[in-house]
Each structure stands twice: as structure tokens, then as C-alpha cells.
């Protein structure tokens, strides 16, 4: 134990510099997001993940954001356990009909002001699963979406870029 901790202290951190914001994602931020929310959150955002029927690929990469390479919390972004603590809902999946009500209720339980980020190809329009008996097809069919992060699944870098763009728009800094 001591050896591992000591090595951890002496080694250069693994954490990598944040990715540069990509214009495309930033441009996807809606106007609603940019208006009148300066510094509401004091540079810190609490995120609640809602898996609305994903294949779990998106969750794996969202998980990776917490590993030492990406270390999400250094940006003031933190995953929280309850929607009641959240500023942002990060939603994945094609919104299965079986999850629709849970998504609506989670959204309703999140205090305003709140933002919704849809992550992954499925969350945009249902992706490959669109059109069956079981999926609504796209998060925006159910709750208003402020930002979409593309990818199947989005890589941690893409997720980070999207979330940083959201932060920038939220607190008017950066």
C-alpha cells in the first residue's frame, strides 16, 4: 500500500490537458442556454446521468471521464446521485417507452434552472433503434435538449469538450 501511494506521489500525474473546444459542438448550444445565466453556478456544475435505454456503451465512456486521465472533477463538473442535486441531466439512449416516464419524472425532479445534454447517436434520434415498437426515438421528443454530443459512443474527449462548452456558456467565463 505504502509503495503504491509513494509511487503515486512521485510520478508525474497522468491527467491530460483539456481538449480545445470544437466549434461544431459549441455552435450546437442553444441560445436559451447562453442567455441570462451568468455565474449562476459559480463555476461548478452537478451532473445527473439518466440512461434512457442505452446499450451501455455511452455509460462506459462517461465512466471513463472519472479516471485519472480525464479527471472531470478538476473542471468543477461532478456526477451526483440524485436529480435533486443536479444542474444538468446527461441523458443517453434512444428513450425506450419503458423509460419514458422515469426520464420525465427525473427531469421534473431536477430543480430549475436546469440543462439537458443528450449524449450519443441514440439520444439524438434513436439511432439504430429508431422506429420500432419500443423506442420513442431521441431525448428531445420527451424533454427539451440544450446540447447534443455526437458519437457512438462519444469518446471521453468528445464528452469533455461538450461539457466544457456547456460550462463556458453557463457561467460566461472561459
Amino acid at each position: 500500500m505504502r509503495k503504491i501511494l509513494l509511487e503515486g506521489l512521485l510520478r508525474r500525474p497522468l491527467t491530460e490537458p483539456p481538449p480545445a473546444a470544437a466549434d461544431a459542438e459549441t455552435a450546437e448550444l442553444s441560445l436559451r442556454l447562453k442567455q441570462g445565466i451568468d455565474r449562476v453556478f459559480g463555476g461548478s456544475l452537478a451532473i445527473r446521468l439518466v440512461d434512457a435505454g442505452s446499450c451501455n456503451g455511452c455509460e462506459l465512456e462517461i465512466h471513463a471521464l472519472n479516471n485519472p486521465f480525464y479527471d472531470l472533477e478538476r473542471f468543477g463538473l461532478k456526477f451526483v446521485a440524485s436529480p435533486r442535486h443536479a444542474d444538468v441531466l446527461l441523458v443517453t439512449g434512444p428513450v425506450t417507452r419503458n423509460m419514458r416516464e422515469a426520464l420525465e419524472r427525473t427531469h421534473a425532479a431536477t430543480p430549475s434552472p436546469k440543462w439537458v445534454v443528450a449524449a450519443g447517436a441514440c439520444a439524438l434520434d434513436g439511432g439504430l433503434y429508431a422506429g420500432g415498437h419500443a423506442c420513442v426515438g431521441g431525448v428531445s421528443e420527451v424533454i427539451p435538449v440544450d446540447l447534443h454530443i455526437p458519437g457512438c459512443p462519444p469518446t471521453p474527449t468528445m464528452l469533455l469538450r461538450g461539457l466544457l462548452a456547456l460550462m463556458a456558456a453557463c457561467d460566461g467565463r472561459r
Binding site: 500500500m1 451501455n56 423509460m99 416516464e101 457512438c152
Partner: protein, 504 residues
Amino acid sequence: MTNATPILGAFPAAPDHMPWPRRVVDEAIWRVLSARLSAGELSLLGLWGDAGMVHMAVLGGDPVAVTVASLACPDGHFPSVGREHPPAIRFERAIRDLFGLEASDALDRRPWLDHGVWSARTPLGRPGAPEAPTPYAFLTSVGEGLHQIPVGPVHAGIIEPGHFRFTAAGETVVRLEERLGYTHKGVEALMAGAPIDRAAMLAARCSGDSTVASSIAFARAVEAALRVAPPPRAVWLRALAAELERVANHLGDIGAICNDAAFAVMLAHCSVLRERVLRAAANCFGHRLMMDAVAPGGMSVDLAADGPKLLHELVATIRRTLPPLVELYDDTASLQDRTVGTGILKPELARQFACGGFVGRASGRSFDARRDLVYPPYDRLRFEVPVRREGDVDARVRVRIAEVEESLTMIVQILAEMPSGAVLADLPGADAPGGEGIAVVEGFRGDILAWVRLAPGGIVDRAHLRDPSWLQWPLLEAAIEGNIVADFPLCNKSFNCSYSGHDL
């Protein structure tokens, strides 16, 4: 274990079903099979519906072999297997939800995947108009001082949705009842009528953490149906990708399990190793999870030119870093205190449910499709299948640690022995004949069953993918009994069943 073939030999085999036979049986033999399953002479690999018919795949014999039995249900009923053999119960409930075929004397008639909100009822059978949803009747527990704790479908962590209903006496769990189906995406309905390549993409997205293994299972079933052999190099590359996937998942979960026992330093180190595997995978196959790298006919990508070098470095890094972490796990009494003796799955139950993967192997069930239903290139690879009998969280962790080491050995062997050449064989196009194929492939979680029936012209008529979780989820309910509620995350993570792969 006896072989099913003597019982079924008298029945005609479907002509185009490869590589194992499928026989159309009558009700009497269907009941005999149920009795053999219940007596432990055969293991249930899968039970699934079709248009006016049910299929059952069983495993038996020495050496083990797979047999598929099919029963026509002209009046929409079939004799319940679950009545005799409980592992079949959830399959039967799903068959009724999807196909409208009823297990006539079933013990549990509640819906399973259908929560009453789909756009159609029995979407794969004769679709009916939706009905108003009825409240789900959870099983009751009666006793003094019992209380219920409902959890989910939206959970506290970054995990998939599902509902758990705990009944507890004080801190002790008296009963856990799972309610799943929240991530049902209608994958099998979407596959029916789809061209092979689109269906393959859906197969790759059954469960994101098993995308490689599910893709291999689907591809092998399609190749069997079409009598196409993938090029030798592709087969080796598939194994390379599958072992990388196994290593990545095991590493991530070993860390996560320790984290659920409040030992975060393991998570930090293991997540670094997992990230290194995913980065190597991205460099080797162009995608961190290697999604869509496997295609029917072979591989859609060849290994990158610097792949072997990167993978040798990766193996060296893990071999250097993991042993001190295992030592740390061994030496931390407070951690062992949480994992040893917690969430015990009894060997009898693992056997009864034919529970695959590390969950089964940590409870004494020595089965691994790579060895027991061997498919190339595993016939050419040297590896051990670690088995323990304790059945607790600790045993599952230790089996996974041992499996990481085995996979690393296999990766080195594959890099040394892999042939060169093409990686993708052409599939017959518009003039492709129809056919049926089945495959069993060992994913990190356990054996995945894939079955397809192709219509002529490269169209999927019907496909079924049975995730290992189907036979593991029910056992989590048993394993948590008598443990404290606070140990549920630990037990759950040590099983790590898939919601999406199960709900499909």
C-alpha cells in the same frame, strides 16, 4: 450429464441448421426435455420464440454438445418448461410478451419485458393493440417488522436502469425482487427483415461492454447459416479483440468492486489500466470499444501496423502493474472483510441455472465455451479456466484476476502465431440462399448464444441473442438474501449483469 441426441434422434432434423442439429419435436418429448433439465441431466442454454413456434437450446453429453428442439404451437400454447425448471421462467414470460405464445401451465404469468407502454402488444407475434398498463404485482413477503425499499429504475451511479424491490428485516435483506425490461429497445423486432450488415450493427449494440463478443456470436451464426468460413487471420483477430475486451472489463470491474467496498485507490489504478487497454484498442482497431470491428465474413478492419508493438507494451504494463494491486487487495484486511463471505452463490444454483462466466466459475461450474464448445482459434491456444467454489464476492474477484492473466497469455500467443492474409470473406449477395445458424461464444460475462434464420438474399428473417445475464440475474436475487442492504452494490457489481443485453 447425458446427451440430448438419443432422446431426439428419432425426430427429423431441420435440413439447413448449422452446425448443431435442430429437431422439431412433439409435446411429449418437450416434456421429457423439461424433466431432464429439471433432473440436472441437461443444461438450458436458451428458450426463445418464433412465429407460431418455440425453440429450446440445451447442452449435454460428454463432451458437451448443443441441441436445439423446436415445438410448434398451433393454438398459441406450449407446455411450460419453467414449471419444472425455474431458469426457464423469465424466458417464458418474455416469449409471451414478444410473441403472444403462452406457457400453458406456467407458475408466473406476469409480464416481464412489456411494461404496458409499447406501441403494440406481442410485437413479434400477431401484434395487438396496446392495453392500458396494469400495476406490476411484486411478490409479497409477510413477517413482523419487514419493510420494503424500492430502488430505481434511475439509480444513483452511472449505471443502467432497472428496478430492485428489497424486503428487509432491519438491515438484512429477506427478499430481493428484480424488475427489468426498462432498456428493451425491440432489437429482435428490428433485426427481423433487416439486411445482414444492419442486423450485425444491432448485434454489436446489444450490450456495449460485450460488443466484440456479441458481434462474434452473431457473425458465427450467420456464417454457419451461409456456410461461409471467415479467413484464418480474421478468426485470430477476433480472438485478439475478444481477449482485449475481456481484460478491459475485468480490470474496470475489479476496481469498481473495490470502490463499492469504499477502497477507492484500487478503482483509480484499475481505471488507469482499463483506459490503457481502450486506447490500445482504438489504435489497433480504430474504436475504443472495438464496435463494428467484427463483421459477418471476418473483420471489417485489420490490425493496425503498429498494433503488435502497442499490444506487447500493453501486456508488459499490465503484468508490471497488476500484481502489486492484487497484493494490495490481499493485504487489506478491511477490504477482505467486505468481500469474503459476502453474496454467496451456492454451487447447486450455479449448476441449475447453467450460469456462465466468472459468476458460474466462482461457484464451481467449470464451463467455458472457448474450451468446451471450442471454436477457432481457441483450439490452437493454451489457456486455463480458473474455477473456485466459494461463490462469494471475493471468489468472483479472484476468478477475474486469474482470467486477466490468462487473456494476457493468449494475446501474446495470438500475436506470435496469427497468420497473415485477408480479413474479410465475401458473403453471397442477392443470390444468397436461406439457412439457419447457431453459435455460442464466450464473452467476458459468460456464454452468448446467437441464433439466426436467414431468408434468401441476405436478409435476416429472425434472430435471437441470449445474453449471459439471463441466467445470472435471477441468481443475484438468491445471492443477496441474508446480506445487509448496504452490501447490495458490492454484490451487484461483482455479478455485473447487463441490463441492455438482457432487456434487448
